[in-house]
């Protein structure tokens, strides 16, 4: 494997993720659902994923997003942290989530 770059980011609580230009979160008025438009693909995130992704503005850290959700749902922070990071990492592995550039922090 040496020499092959891992092109995708590794998501941690310190990450400040954002959707790249080619992965567009959009409300589909016709079908009344949120979708992510990606190269020749349409993804259907569930409500909570949408809530998380709308907070991924490249400024907020994953840590702050988890704090906000834990407060809102009065749920154990550890469980939310695990779920949120797993979901974001899965999206990152597909190339549909990037780290905000330095200048935005």
């Amino acid at each position: 494997m040496a020499g092959l770059r891992g092109r995708n980011i590794s998501v941690s609580e310190a990450s400040r993720p954002v959707l790249p230009r080619h992965a567009r979160l959009k409300f589909d008025e016709t079908r009344q659902v949120w979708v992510i438009l990606a190269p020749e693909r349409v993804l259907a995130p569930d409500e909570i994923a949408v809530e998380v992704l709308r907070l991924c503005d490249g400024v907020r850290s994953v840590e702050a997003i988890i704090d906000q959700l834990a407060a809102k749902y009065a749920a154990p922070r550890d469980a939310i942290s695990t779920d949120v990071i797993a979901m974001l990492q899965d999206l990152a592995d597909k190339g549909f989530l990037i780290e905000a550039r330095e200048s935005t922090s």
Binding site: H22, R41, P45, I48, A49
Partner: protein, 402 residues
């Protein structure tokens, strides 16, 4: 309440599966809802002459193409009725002088734009203008891993070198890149190198697409049909590479169905989740549908809306769902898995688009088709009939058709 995100990212293999994801959510896409993505064949003009071109043998000439204003109206209408993505294709879409304007219009009405291109007409400035206009993804076709094979298949001098340049510019402009490699007997030996080429080009995705035999490819079947040994080796190479390159390059694989046991779920089922628009504005259930004679296809230039044509026209309803099926399809447990396979292939091989696709092991013709493939694959006919507006030109020694 504890938020669960396990089902959050229904990431899907293609737009057709996107429909499936939405269907599970009980959306209007459940019964022939408007497709999520539409293929716009802006023109049949193309500088390449690939012998497996998916365009019909009867190419539509420049003079009958929809005008800029007509395409813009079509794009607006598509967005209005719920289409989310547009694939600008051809022919060669960059042969249209108004491509940047059309991409900008797609962006303005909220459509996500993909460009499906041979790339030989692109310049860096043109690509930058397309990106500026909102283009979100570029798919470039490659005919081989190096110029000797690739330029011969394309019938175009220096095609391969131009494609490599365009792929590099695509990534420099931060656009995601898909490498599309159409595979057949005369280039399958280059597959490992093509996979490496896709990695070196920093592509996100590689489509390894075995030729599907309609139209031009059917004309060239004897020169293109792979051997069974080649297909077995290909499947191994693809599977190994998918594991080895996980997280680096996604590889989609289209098998040649002459050697398959079950037919492909062609277009996700006729008239079920896909349509394309021909250069002159005909709305087609698939890009090969015009090979089926006796079907009338409505145009955007008619008095009907696109949604009406999709929902009500005779051509879309003829093979829609499962009601049209003969035996052995009608009582088959797989009828809603593969929707009877491919209508164009059934027509090409049996003369009746309503027959069972001979790619299916349950078709009475399956054994015959399998044998035919083996015979052609082991034959010594390797000369191409190049695709052009004149109905095709037979390759002569060493001219690369160019």
């Amino acid at each position: 309440m504890s938020p669960t995100l396990t089902d959050a990212n229904q990431v899907v293999a293609d737009p057709s599966d996107g429909i499936a994801a939405l269907e599970r959510r009980g959306s209007v896409a459940e019964t022939f809802g408007i497709p999520l993505a539409v293929l716009a064949e802006l023109t049949h003009r193309c500088p390449l002459q690939c012998p497996y071109c998916s365009n019909p043998i009867e190419l539509e000439r420049g003079a009958v193409e929809l005008t800029t204003a007509e395409w813009k109206k079509v794009l607006s209408e598509l967005a209005e009725i719920g289409v989310l993505q547009i694939h600008f294709s051809g022919g060669e879409p960059t042969a249209r002088k108004d491509l940047v304007e059309l991409v900008q219009h797609a962006t303005d009405v909220g459509l996500y734009s993909n460009l499906i291109t041979s790339a030989v007409l692109l310049t860096r400035d043109k690509l930058a203008a397309l990106a500026e206009a909102g283009l979100s993804h570029v798919q470039i076709s490659f005919q081989g891993s190096e110029p000797v094979v690739a330029d011969r298949v394309a019938g175009f001098k220096d095609a391969h070198a131009k494609k490599l340049d365009a792929a590099k510019w695509t990534r420099e402009l931060d656009l995601p890149l898909t490498v599309n490699a159409v595979m057949h007997r005369q280039n399958l030996f280059q597959l490992p190198d093509i996979i490496q080429m896709a990695v070196d080009l920093d592509a996100d995705r590689l489509e390894v697409a075995n030729v599907q035999y309609y139209g031009w490819a059917l004309k060239n079947r004897a020169a293109l049909m792979p051997t069974l040994e080649q297909i077995e080796a290909t499947s191994r190479i693809v599977e190994d590479s998918q594991v080895r390159l996980k997280g680096i390059l996604a590889i989609d694989y289209v098998v040649p169905d002459y050697y398959a046991l079950r037919p492909k779920k062609c277009m996700g089922g006729w008239g079920r989740q896909f349509f394309n628009i021909s250069p002159a504005g005909k709305i087609l259930p698939c890009h090969a549908a015009e090979t089926i004679t006796g079907l009338e296809f409505e145009s955007v230039r008619s008095n009907h809306s696109i949604a009406w044509i999709w929902q009500n026209s005779e051509a879309f309803n003829r093979y829609r769902g499962t009601g049209w099926m003969p035996e052995p399809c009608a009582s088959c447990a797989f009828k809603e898995i593969d929707f009877g396979g491919c209508r164009c292939q059934a027509f090409a091989l049996t003369g009746d688009a309503g027959n069972t696709d001979p790619a299916c092991a349950l078709s009475p013709l399956h054994g015959q088709i399998f044998k035919l493939a083996e015979q052609e694959a082991s034959g010594d006919n390797s000369r191409f009939v190049y695709r052009n507006f004149a109905g095709g030109t037979l390759e002569t020694g060493g001219d690369h058709g160019a």
